[in-house]
């Protein structure tokens, strides 16, 4: 077969210009695939991380059924007992109790619907980015039971200043009406419009009192070091819960707590892949064009070779080798460029603001608070992009390969 190998290789270079153009197309395709994989990984990882750290945490322990309708009466009773048990799991880095209340808030003549989030100021420091995202004023200190931190957009709508009074009403967990007043200590900016437009962050004890919850909470937000390790941790946590007899509770991953993020990512990724596959098909046609043209040009040669005794198998193999050697340099270059660009973007990132004003706003609206996206290259991405390019090349080569195997030498000789 080494003859076929040599012939395959030499055939590629018989029309240098055409081959190089085809290789360039393959290189581009491979590079794009590699870069896209790295970029998407980086972007989605950042999106998930941001959402997780802004609010929901890597995992949450909730009462079974709370996820469906968020009824304020579906509570986690005796949260301290659960916190103590879960704290023993080594992968757990921080646990933050949370209360969540639908509220109506007022200041001056302005009224707005809001979501009251009750958090423990001490524990929350390690749990979410909320206490660290205060552009103005400060987060309420431990012991401050009167303070409230308001989302920047909500604060603007209500014309709030640091020190303003915020009046609150809503319904408690026993049926009475909440009537309360807190003092604005600071504003919080998560970069996610849904949160900045709705959140009022309240000291946990005050929230529990307001809503007549006793010492119960609605969720325990749990942080670990890496969002990709969340699923084995979920299994561990659920085992701990059943070990301490708390079968009323369930441990949920961030993607279960907020399926929207995962779905948004999958949708975006999906559309990216569709685009890529369309490109792959187009490049595939390009390769097919090259191979078919080469095939037709050499038709008489095939006739001669077949007449001289070349078996159809060898003919096919020769064409496949030609396809292989056509793809190989392109893939090597493509991978090289892809790795280079991915590496570059992983260090310096892509600043989305280059794409115009309003991008930051749009990102915030969709829940993606970062404006610089860093790519994240993982080695399997090289294998995948190379395989895709090889794949499309071989697939297109099947047509001329098959032809060689089936033409009659006399027809080939007479071709033209």
């Amino acid at each position: 077969m080494s003859l076929m190998l040599k012939m395959g290789w030499r055939n590629v270079w018989r029309n240098k210009r055409r081959s190089i153009i085809t290789m360039a197309a393959i290189a581009f395709c491979t590079m794009l695939a590699l870069f896209m994989l790295a970029y998407m990984r980086g972007a989605y990882g950042a999106m998930i991380d941001a959402m997780v750290r802004a609010n929901i945490g890597h995992l949450q322990v909730q009462k079974k059924g709370y996820l469906d309708d968020h009824k304020i009466t579906e509570v986690v009773r005796n949260p301290e007992e659960v916190i103590n048990a879960i704290a023993n799991v080594p992968e757990v880095k921080a646990i933050g109790p949370r209360v969540q209340l639908p509220l109506l808030v007022f200041s001056g003549n302005h009224t707005a619907f809001a979501v009251g989030l009750g958090v423990d100021p001490v524990r929350e420091l390690n749990v979410s980015n909320l206490p660290h995202s205060i552009p103005e004023g400060e987060f309420f200190a431990p012991g401050d039971n009167e303070g409230v931190v308001v989302g920047t957009i909500l604060a603007k709508n209500l014309h709030l200043k640091i020190g303003s009074e915020l009046d609150i009403t809503g319904q408690s967990a026993i049926g009475s009406i909440i009537q309360d007043r807190l003092i604005v200590r600071g504003f919080v900016r998560t970069g996610i419009n849904d949160l900045d437009r709705n959140f009022v962050i309240i000291p946990l004890a005050r929230a529990q009192e307001m809503a007549a919850l006793g010492n119960s909470v609605h969720a325990l937000s749990i942080m670990t070091s890496d969002w990709t390790q969340v699923w084995p941790l979920q299994t561990k946590i659920n085992r701990v819960l059943s070990d301490i007899g708390r079968n009323d509770l369930v441990g949920l991953t961030w993607s279960e707590v907020n399926p929207g993020i995962k779905q948004a990512i999958e949708l975006d990724a999906g559309s990216g892949w569709i685009f890529f596959f369309i490109l792959l098909v187009i490049v595939g046609f390009g390769i097919l064009n090259t191979l078919v043209m080469a095939f037709l040009e050499r038709m008489r040669e095939y006739g001669v070779m077949l007449a001289l005794g070349m078996t159809p198998i060898r003919g096919r193999v020769m064409i496949l080798y030609e396809a292989f050697f056509l793809a190989l340099p392109g893939i090597i270059v493509g991978v090289g460029l892809g790795v280079f660009f991915a590496w570059l973007v992983s260090i310096y990132g892509v600043d989305l603001r280059w794409f115009g004003e309003g991008v930051e706003e749009m990102m915030a609206e969709f829940g993606f608070p970062l404006v610089i996206i860093y790519a994240k290259l993982e080695w399997w991405m090289i294998a995948l992009s190379a395989s895709l390019s090889f794949g499309i090349t071989f697939f297109t080569a099947l047509y001329p390969a098959r032809k060689v195997g089936t033409i009659k030498p006399i027809d080939a000789l007479r071709f033209n």
Partner: protein, 258 residues
């Protein structure tokens, strides 16, 4: 001759009596108006105990309140107990409603977006309090027929459908009224997709303040996700048709401790 003439006159008179068609819609509307007037009076002062049963709460929540109303346009309600909610007041004038929260000294106008929200955690909505007066204006009535009920004897069934211009949330209502004393027994509320959403029951008919009316209203939600919920409104004292001081139906009055 005289006898024939008398017979003819009698026959003619008889045909007049028969030929005047019994207008069913007219009769139905009259009945509804009658029931409405019975429950409302010209003015009404009442002391009410509202019990809200919600399986999510540890115990049913009980409010004591007093209310003033004048015709179909004006109403004022003050919560008397429990202590943490005492002093909360509501004012309704026509289709607008205000609420006062004493602990934060705030008068709040209930915006349209909150109209379908529950009133004080009960199975009544804000819209109920505001719109319940305009049954006669907003709906046209049709007599469906009568049915027999073991407890109540003959019961008149009337169907109410919204008039085209009416801005109401219901698709239709079914009123059941006891024929013997024209006391309302129940109202079934259907939404626009003709799903039965809730039932209001009128019970404990007694004479209070000189008038005989039902003194216990029960709202029973019929939707499956509201299973176990029920609200009771029990009148413990009623004063009918005593003129109400103008000052009662004012925003200023919202803040009065009463």
């Amino acid at each position: 001759m005289n006898k024939s003439i008398s017979i003819i006159v009698a026959l003619i008179l008889a045909t007049f009596a028969i030929s005047a068609p019994a207008d069913p819609s007219n009769e139905a509307e009259n009945i509804i108006k009658q029931v409405d007037d019975l429950l409302r009076g010209k003015t009404q002062y009442a002391k009410i105990k509202m019990t809200v049963n919600n399986p999510d709460w540890p115990t049913p929540y009980v409010y004591d309140m007093e209310s003033w109303s004048e015709g179909t346009e004006k109403a004022f309600i003050r919560i008397l107990s429990p202590a943490k909610d005492a002093g909360i007041t509501f004012l309704k004038i026509d289709t607008e409603m205000w609420q006062y929260l004493p602990k934060i000294d705030r008068v709040m106008k209930i915006p349209p977006s909150m109209m379908l929200g529950s009133w004080m955690g009960s199975d009544f909505t804000n819209d109920d309090l505001v719109k319940e007066s305009s049954i006669v204006e907003d709906y046209s009535s049709r007599l469906v027929g009568t049915e027999q009920d073991t407890a109540n004897g003959e019961v008149i069934v009337i169907e109410l459908k919204p008039r085209p211009e009416a801005a109401v949330v219901w698709g239709r209502l079914i009123y059941k009224i006891r024929k013997s004393d024209m006391m309302p027994l129940s109202v079934d509320f259907y939404d626009e997709d003709d799903m039965a959403i809730r039932r209001m029951l009128y019970e404990k008919v007694q004479t209070m303040g000189g008038r005989t009316t039902p003194t216990l209203m029960r709202i029973l939600p019929l939707e499956p996700d509201k299973k176990g919920r029920e609200t009771f409104l029990e009148m413990t004292e009623i004063i009918w048709d005593k003129p109400v001081d103008r000052a009662v139906f004012t925003k200023r009055n919202l803040k009065n401790a009463g």
